[in-house]
Protein backbone atom coordinates (compact mmCIF):
# COMPACT_ATOMS: atom_id res chain seq x y z
CA UNK A 1 0.00 0.00 0.00
CA UNK A 2 1.52 3.32 -1.10
CA UNK A 3 0.74 6.66 0.49
CA UNK A 4 -1.74 8.75 -1.45
CA UNK A 5 -1.27 12.48 -2.06
CA UNK A 6 -3.11 13.54 1.09
CA UNK A 7 -1.21 11.02 3.23
CA UNK A 8 2.11 12.21 1.83
CA UNK A 9 1.24 15.72 2.99
CA UNK A 10 -0.25 14.60 6.32
CA UNK A 11 2.68 12.44 7.39
CA UNK A 12 5.37 14.62 5.82
CA UNK A 13 7.21 15.40 9.05
CA UNK A 14 7.25 11.77 10.15
CA UNK A 15 8.34 10.41 6.79
CA UNK A 16 11.05 13.07 6.64
CA UNK A 17 12.86 11.12 9.37
CA UNK A 18 15.45 9.02 7.58
CA UNK A 19 14.78 5.96 9.73
CA UNK A 20 11.07 6.03 8.85
CA UNK A 21 10.48 7.45 5.36
CA UNK A 22 7.30 6.60 3.43
CA UNK A 23 7.98 2.86 3.78
CA UNK A 24 7.82 3.16 7.56
CA UNK A 25 4.60 5.13 7.45
CA UNK A 26 3.08 2.50 5.16
CA UNK A 27 4.08 -0.12 7.71
CA UNK A 28 2.38 1.86 10.50
CA UNK A 29 -0.80 2.23 8.43
CA UNK A 30 -1.03 -1.54 8.05
CA UNK A 31 -0.17 -2.29 11.71
CA UNK A 32 -2.53 -3.70 14.32
CA UNK A 33 -2.09 -2.38 17.85
CA UNK A 34 -4.28 -3.29 20.81
CA UNK A 35 -4.49 -0.98 23.81
CA UNK A 36 -5.78 -2.54 27.03
CA UNK A 37 -7.47 0.09 29.15
CA UNK A 38 -8.95 3.43 28.12
CA UNK A 39 -8.03 5.59 31.10
CA UNK A 40 -5.25 8.13 31.59
CA UNK A 41 -2.32 6.39 29.92
CA UNK A 42 -4.53 5.20 27.07
CA UNK A 43 -6.10 8.63 26.46
CA UNK A 44 -2.76 10.14 25.68
CA UNK A 45 -1.36 7.05 23.95
CA UNK A 46 -4.39 6.57 21.70
CA UNK A 47 -4.32 10.18 20.59
CA UNK A 48 -0.74 9.84 19.37
CA UNK A 49 -1.19 6.36 17.91
CA UNK A 50 -4.15 7.57 15.85
CA UNK A 51 -2.51 10.85 14.88
CA UNK A 52 0.59 9.00 13.71
CA UNK A 53 -1.51 6.75 11.50
CA UNK A 54 -1.41 3.39 13.21
CA UNK A 55 -3.95 1.88 10.83
CA UNK A 56 -5.76 -0.59 13.06
CA UNK A 57 -6.28 0.14 16.75
CA UNK A 58 -8.24 -2.02 19.16
CA UNK A 59 -9.31 -0.71 22.58
CA UNK A 60 -10.50 -2.84 25.50
CA UNK A 61 -12.25 -1.28 28.51
CA UNK A 62 -15.57 -1.65 30.29
CA UNK A 63 -15.55 1.67 32.13
CA UNK A 64 -17.60 4.83 31.60
CA UNK A 65 -16.33 8.41 31.65
CA UNK A 66 -16.71 10.12 35.04
CA UNK A 67 -16.04 13.65 36.24
CA UNK A 68 -12.87 12.77 38.15
CA UNK A 69 -11.36 11.24 34.98
CA UNK A 70 -11.25 14.58 33.16
CA UNK A 71 -8.09 16.16 34.69
CA UNK A 72 -5.93 13.33 33.37
CA UNK A 73 -7.88 11.45 30.67
CA UNK A 74 -7.48 13.95 27.88
CA UNK A 75 -9.52 12.11 25.30
CA UNK A 76 -12.79 12.86 27.13
CA UNK A 77 -14.87 15.98 27.78
CA UNK A 78 -17.74 17.02 30.06
CA UNK A 79 -20.18 15.99 27.33
CA UNK A 80 -18.86 12.41 27.48
CA UNK A 81 -19.61 11.80 31.17
CA UNK A 82 -21.62 8.61 31.54
CA UNK A 83 -20.67 7.22 28.13
CA UNK A 84 -18.52 4.15 27.60
CA UNK A 85 -14.91 5.23 27.17
CA UNK A 86 -14.28 2.91 24.24
CA UNK A 87 -17.25 4.35 22.32
CA UNK A 88 -16.11 7.94 22.87
CA UNK A 89 -12.53 7.01 22.02
CA UNK A 90 -13.51 5.29 18.77
CA UNK A 91 -15.60 8.29 17.68
CA UNK A 92 -12.89 10.80 18.54
CA UNK A 93 -9.93 8.89 17.11
CA UNK A 94 -11.65 8.16 13.80
CA UNK A 95 -12.46 11.88 13.54
CA UNK A 96 -8.86 12.72 14.40
CA UNK A 97 -7.53 10.55 11.60
CA UNK A 98 -9.78 8.88 9.02
CA UNK A 99 -6.89 6.58 8.06
CA UNK A 100 -7.42 4.75 11.34
CA UNK A 101 -9.90 1.94 11.93
CA UNK A 102 -10.77 1.56 15.61
CA UNK A 103 -12.26 -1.66 16.98
CA UNK A 104 -13.61 -1.77 20.49
CA UNK A 105 -14.37 -4.31 23.19
CA UNK A 106 -16.72 -2.95 25.82
CA UNK A 107 -15.56 -5.49 28.38
CA UNK A 108 -12.86 -6.05 30.95
CA UNK A 109 -9.92 -8.20 29.91
CA UNK A 110 -10.19 -11.52 31.75
CA UNK A 111 -8.50 -14.90 31.59
CA UNK A 112 -11.58 -16.12 29.70
CA UNK A 113 -11.44 -13.58 26.87
CA UNK A 114 -7.81 -12.42 26.77
CA UNK A 115 -6.52 -14.82 24.09
CA UNK A 116 -9.50 -14.24 21.83
CA UNK A 117 -9.20 -10.45 22.07
CA UNK A 118 -5.41 -10.11 21.83
CA UNK A 119 -4.81 -12.71 19.12
CA UNK A 120 -3.94 -11.32 15.69
CA UNK A 121 -2.40 -8.04 16.83
CA UNK A 122 1.21 -7.00 16.16
CA UNK A 123 1.80 -5.61 19.64
CA UNK A 124 -0.07 -4.95 22.89
CA UNK A 125 0.09 -1.73 24.89
CA UNK A 126 -0.82 -2.17 28.54
CA UNK A 127 -2.57 0.91 29.93
CA UNK A 128 -4.41 -0.86 32.74
CA UNK A 129 -4.63 0.31 36.33
CA UNK A 130 -3.93 -2.89 38.24
CA UNK A 131 -1.28 -5.58 38.57
CA UNK A 132 -3.70 -8.44 38.04
CA UNK A 133 -4.46 -7.40 34.45
CA UNK A 134 -0.82 -6.56 33.76
CA UNK A 135 0.15 -10.12 34.74
CA UNK A 136 -2.71 -11.50 32.62
CA UNK A 137 -1.39 -9.54 29.62
CA UNK A 138 2.11 -10.87 30.35
CA UNK A 139 0.83 -14.49 30.45
CA UNK A 140 -1.39 -14.15 27.38
CA UNK A 141 1.28 -12.48 25.28
CA UNK A 142 3.74 -15.24 26.18
CA UNK A 143 1.20 -17.86 25.10
CA UNK A 144 0.41 -16.05 21.84
CA UNK A 145 4.01 -14.90 21.31
CA UNK A 146 2.97 -11.26 20.88
CA UNK A 147 5.24 -8.44 22.12
CA UNK A 148 3.89 -6.03 24.70
CA UNK A 149 4.76 -2.73 26.30
CA UNK A 150 3.82 -2.41 29.94
CA UNK A 151 3.30 0.96 31.61
CA UNK A 152 2.19 2.13 35.01
CA UNK A 153 1.86 5.35 36.98
CA UNK A 154 1.08 6.50 40.48
CA UNK A 155 1.67 9.77 42.33
CA UNK A 156 4.61 11.45 40.54
CA UNK A 157 6.25 8.31 39.21
CA UNK A 158 5.81 5.88 36.37
CA UNK A 159 7.59 3.12 34.50
CA UNK A 160 7.74 1.56 31.05
CA UNK A 161 9.20 -1.71 29.84
CA UNK A 162 8.99 -3.71 26.61
CA UNK A 163 8.81 -7.49 26.43
CA UNK A 164 9.42 -9.80 23.49
CA UNK A 165 8.02 -13.16 24.67
CA UNK A 166 10.52 -16.03 24.71
CA UNK A 167 13.33 -13.58 23.89
CA UNK A 168 13.38 -11.26 26.88
CA UNK A 169 12.57 -11.24 30.58
CA UNK A 170 8.92 -10.81 31.48
CA UNK A 171 7.41 -8.13 33.70
CA UNK A 172 6.40 -10.87 36.13
CA UNK A 173 10.00 -11.93 36.51
CA UNK A 174 10.61 -8.81 38.59
CA UNK A 175 8.51 -10.22 41.39
CA UNK A 176 9.18 -13.26 43.58
CA UNK A 177 5.72 -12.92 45.03
CA UNK A 178 3.06 -11.43 42.81
CA UNK A 179 1.52 -8.42 44.56
CA UNK A 180 -2.02 -8.98 43.33
CA UNK A 181 -3.82 -10.29 46.39
CA UNK A 182 -2.60 -7.56 48.67
CA UNK A 183 -3.06 -4.81 46.13
CA UNK A 184 -6.48 -3.81 47.45
CA UNK A 185 -5.04 -3.20 50.90
CA UNK A 186 -2.83 -0.46 49.53
CA UNK A 187 -5.23 0.86 46.92
CA UNK A 188 -6.87 3.62 48.95
CA UNK A 189 -3.59 5.19 49.95
CA UNK A 190 -2.06 4.84 46.50
CA UNK A 191 -4.56 6.53 44.25
CA UNK A 192 -3.12 9.99 43.77
CA UNK A 193 -1.60 10.77 40.42
CA UNK A 194 0.10 13.85 38.99
CA UNK A 195 -1.44 14.23 35.50
CA UNK A 196 1.78 15.24 33.65
CA UNK A 197 3.44 11.94 34.58
CA UNK A 198 0.69 10.16 32.63
CA UNK A 199 1.53 12.08 29.46
CA UNK A 200 5.22 11.44 29.89
CA UNK A 201 4.92 7.71 30.53
CA UNK A 202 2.35 7.14 27.79
CA UNK A 203 4.55 8.99 25.28
CA UNK A 204 7.50 6.74 26.12
CA UNK A 205 5.25 3.69 25.89
CA UNK A 206 3.85 4.56 22.46
CA UNK A 207 7.32 5.38 21.24
CA UNK A 208 8.28 1.81 22.18
CA UNK A 209 5.26 0.50 20.26
CA UNK A 210 6.05 2.53 17.16
CA UNK A 211 9.76 1.72 17.27
CA UNK A 212 8.97 -1.98 17.55
CA UNK A 213 6.63 -1.79 14.54
CA UNK A 214 9.32 0.00 12.54
CA UNK A 215 12.04 -2.46 13.49
CA UNK A 216 14.11 -0.14 15.68
CA UNK A 217 16.56 -2.09 17.84
CA UNK A 218 16.98 0.26 20.80
CA UNK A 219 13.98 -0.74 22.92
CA UNK A 220 13.44 -1.04 26.67
CA UNK A 221 13.95 -4.81 26.58
CA UNK A 222 15.17 -6.50 29.80
CA UNK A 223 15.14 -3.10 31.41
CA UNK A 224 12.71 -0.58 32.78
CA UNK A 225 12.66 3.17 32.44
CA UNK A 226 11.54 4.85 35.63
CA UNK A 227 10.66 8.53 35.77
CA UNK A 228 9.79 10.67 38.76
CA UNK A 229 8.46 14.13 37.95
CA UNK A 230 8.62 15.30 41.57
CA UNK A 231 12.38 14.89 41.68
CA UNK A 232 12.99 15.00 37.89
CA UNK A 233 14.84 11.72 38.33
CA UNK A 234 14.99 9.45 35.27
CA UNK A 235 16.70 6.07 35.35
CA UNK A 236 16.92 2.84 33.42
CA UNK A 237 17.33 -0.32 35.51
CA UNK A 238 18.30 -3.75 34.17
CA UNK A 239 16.15 -6.79 34.94
CA UNK A 240 17.54 -9.58 37.17
CA UNK A 241 19.59 -12.25 35.38
Amino acid sequence: MSLNKEQKEKYYHTTFLKEIKEEGQEKLLSSKVIVIGAGGLASSALTYLASMGIGNITIVDDDKVSLNNLPRQILYTYQDIGEYKVEVAKRRLEMLNPDVKVSIYKEKLTSQNASRIIKGHDIVLDCTDNFETKFLIDDTCHTLNIPFVIAGVSDYQGQVSTCLPHKSKSFKSLFSTLPINIEQKYKDEDQGVYPPVIGLISDIAISEVVKYLLGFKDLLIDKMLIANLKTNDFKIIKFPQ
Partner: protein, 68 residues
Amino acid sequence: MRLIVDSVSSNEYPAHFSIADLLRKMDVEAVPWLIIAVNGQFYKRDKFEETLLNDGDKVDLIYVRGGG
Protein backbone atom coordinates in the same frame (compact mmCIF):
# COMPACT_ATOMS: atom_id res chain seq x y z
CA MET B 1 29.83 1.69 55.44
CA ARG B 2 28.66 4.32 52.97
CA LEU B 3 25.58 3.70 50.81
CA ILE B 4 23.81 5.96 48.36
CA VAL B 5 20.11 5.25 48.84
CA ASP B 6 17.75 7.01 46.43
CA SER B 7 20.54 9.49 45.65
CA VAL B 8 21.17 10.29 49.35
CA SER B 9 24.65 9.35 50.56
CA SER B 10 25.19 8.30 54.18
CA ASN B 11 27.95 6.63 56.22
CA GLU B 12 25.61 5.32 58.91
CA TYR B 13 25.29 1.75 57.63
CA PRO B 14 27.06 -1.15 59.38
CA ALA B 15 29.17 -3.73 57.62
CA HIS B 16 27.51 -7.04 56.61
CA PHE B 17 24.33 -5.16 55.83
CA SER B 18 21.91 -6.86 53.42
CA ILE B 19 19.19 -5.46 51.17
CA ALA B 20 16.65 -6.90 53.63
CA ASP B 21 18.39 -5.10 56.52
CA LEU B 22 18.14 -1.84 54.63
CA LEU B 23 14.44 -2.31 53.92
CA ARG B 24 13.75 -3.18 57.56
CA LYS B 25 15.66 -0.09 58.66
CA MET B 26 13.52 2.02 56.31
CA ASP B 27 10.34 0.20 57.37
CA VAL B 28 9.34 -0.63 53.81
CA GLU B 29 10.03 -4.37 53.65
CA ALA B 30 6.33 -5.24 53.45
CA VAL B 31 5.47 -3.10 50.42
CA PRO B 32 4.61 -5.78 47.85
CA TRP B 33 5.54 -3.94 44.65
CA LEU B 34 8.80 -2.55 45.92
CA ILE B 35 11.77 -3.80 43.94
CA ILE B 36 15.36 -2.91 44.54
CA ALA B 37 18.13 -1.96 42.19
CA VAL B 38 21.73 -2.02 43.33
CA ASN B 39 24.12 -0.23 40.99
CA GLY B 40 21.50 -0.27 38.23
CA GLN B 41 20.62 -3.97 38.52
CA PHE B 42 17.27 -5.25 39.83
CA TYR B 43 17.20 -7.75 42.70
CA LYS B 44 14.16 -9.90 43.37
CA ARG B 45 12.66 -10.20 46.83
CA ASP B 46 13.96 -13.74 47.33
CA LYS B 47 17.52 -12.37 47.07
CA PHE B 48 17.07 -9.57 49.60
CA GLU B 49 18.29 -11.51 52.66
CA GLU B 50 21.34 -13.05 51.01
CA THR B 51 22.53 -10.01 49.08
CA LEU B 52 25.06 -8.04 51.12
CA LEU B 53 25.65 -4.44 50.20
CA ASN B 54 29.15 -3.09 49.68
CA ASP B 55 30.70 0.22 50.59
CA GLY B 56 29.74 2.81 47.95
CA ASP B 57 26.81 0.85 46.52
CA LYS B 58 24.06 2.89 44.91
CA VAL B 59 20.66 1.55 45.96
CA ASP B 60 17.38 2.58 44.33
CA LEU B 61 14.02 1.73 45.84
CA ILE B 62 11.62 1.28 42.94
CA TYR B 63 7.92 1.27 43.67
CA VAL B 64 6.57 -0.39 40.54
CA ARG B 65 3.33 1.35 39.62
CA GLY B 66 0.10 -0.42 38.81
CA GLY B 67 -1.98 2.66 38.04
CA GLY B 68 -3.08 3.69 34.61
